[in-house]
Amino acid sequence: MADRKPLYLMTPALAWLTAFMVVPCLLVLALAFFRRGIYGGIEYTFTLETIALVFDPLYASIFIKSALIAGLAGLIASVIGYSAAYAIAAMPARRQPLLLFFAVLPFWSNYLVRTYAWIVLLNREGLITALARYLGYDGEMPRMLYTESAVVIGLVYNYLPFVILACYAPLSRLNPEIAEASRDLGGSAWTTFRRITLPMTAPGIATGFVFVFVLSIGNFVTPALLGGGQFQMIGNLVYAQFLTANDWPFGAALSMVLIAVMMGLLTLQTFVSERASGARTKEA
């Protein structure tokens, strides 16, 4: 086909993306350089104050808190996800696709529903309390719902399938002869894992961790539902600026910093994993 035709096929979609994604995102970027008017609305004079306000200790501490929660969720998800992926990769080859399918299946169900399931479990009158009573415990149950731990559990639960997939990829590609060679040379199973398997599959863990971290740090649904509005994460703050406080420039500035953090991490991760795979090709 002639060279011009593809452009003609792509035009409607590209026009849609330009109008409803590129332009709106640039608009938010621009908003960050203005400030809220005294009587609400936006005051159209260029300023860096709004962005500077993000780094005010009050808001910076929310950023740090979000990063800590996202980091903890990423860490726990990585440990559980890597173990699961390792176990799947150790199963007979013909069973692996099915196991992987069932590991990812919950991910296909609605995010709110999966989060709600944890409310049912962690509720004061929930299943865990009921189970404890059934087992004969009649003391005061600790508060489980509306805590930071509940938020971390929710995030780990929702994003675990990602990590399992990310870790399974390098584990399944691992050449078993390398591990065999290590054992022949006298390495114990633990040494082989620690010095051969783990370093060779680390890029998968990094991918999984970064994914969970990036998805968690901007999340506002899980903190809103499982945290019960007890504490704020950056996503909730952005939400509040746009829908409650009506301070769009500040909301925009917060999102821009959030995106910058995410992009930075994703780029770093791509760079590291590209270098790791590059190094491996050289060795081979």
Binding site: Y8, L17, A87, A90, Y111, W118, A189, V221
Partner: protein, 263 residues
């Protein structure tokens, strides 16, 4: 191969992880059939919570809205996304900017796209409602349709297109009678994926729906119900929503795996 105790440890890990993944949602499904509806006691099998759903006007209204949004946005996104995919694959020398624009909706955090669209619509003084939700859903839906169709196009035999044009067919005829039939399974798979994503999508709809009750979608209704407090009806609603997503996605995967594609 690994020794017995390692093998046993692996099975134990798998059992624990699968329990972690499946116990919460299984509890939900089981409770939706619990007469009393509370997690504290099983009072007998009943489908009464499903009956409550049907007689709940708010939920039925939200379900209708969800259907309108999902069908319309899927329809638009499938056409635009498929054309985009074909265009991109014909144009072999792909620019980086183009790739970034196409994949961006899959990577941009929902909340960012949501606030961007809210700001955009408000500045243009567009009335928020179902129409703005549909327009916004097309943005990410078309990216996913495009990705699914492109994956199929990687194994597409372009010589049949050459044969078609050599025999005098116009671009439109070639697209319609040669390219589309081969791509159909991928197009349907992409549409099913888009439909599911649209049914499940919450944040973007939440921001672009406006304040009125009349444009509330099912996920928004679920969010409101959860915040209001745990009622047994949500269990039934959750079970239905979950079943629809899993069935549509399983079908999409199957179509896309090529088993039904005849290739």
């Amino acid at each position: 191969m690994a020794d017995r105790s390692t093998q046993r440890l692996m099975l134990l890990i798998l059992a624990a992880v699968f329990a972690f993944l499946y116990v919460p949602i299984s509890v939900l499904v089981a409770l939706s059939f619990n007469e009393g509806g509370l997690p504290t006691a099983w009072t007998g099998f009943s489908t009464k919570w499903y009956g409550e759903l049907i007689s709940n006007k708010d939920i039925m209204g939200a379900a209708l809205n969800t259907l309108i949004v999902a069908v319309s946005s899927t329809f638009i996104a499938t056409i635009l996304g498929s054309l985009l995919a074909v265009g991109v694959e014909i144009r072999r020398r792909k620019g980086r900017v183009l790739e970034t624009v196409i994949f961006a909706p899959m990577i941009i955090p929902d909340i960012v796209l949501a606030i961007a669209l809210l700001s955009f619509f408000s500045m243009l003084e567009v009335t928020l409602g179902l129409r703005t939700i549909i327009v916004s859903h097309v943005v990410f839906n078309l990216a996913f349709v495009c990705a699914v169709v492109r994956a199929r196009l990687k194994t597409f035999d372009w010589t049949i297109v050459e044969a078609s044009t050599d025999l005098g067919a116009s671009t439109i005829t070639t697209l319609w009678r040669v390219v589309l039939p081969v791509l159909m399974p991928a197009v349907i798979a992409g549409a099913l994926l888009a439909f599911t994503l649209s049914v499940d999508e919450f944040i973007i709809a939440f921001f672009t729906a406006g304040a009125g009750r009349e444009s509330i979608t099912l996920p928004m209704q679920i969010f409101a119900m959860i915040r209001f407090g745990v009622t047994p009806e949500i269990n039934a609603l959750a079970t239905i929503v979950m079943t629809v997503s899993v069935v549509a996605l399983a079908l999409s995967q199957r179509l896309n795996s090529g088993k039904l594609a005849g290739q």
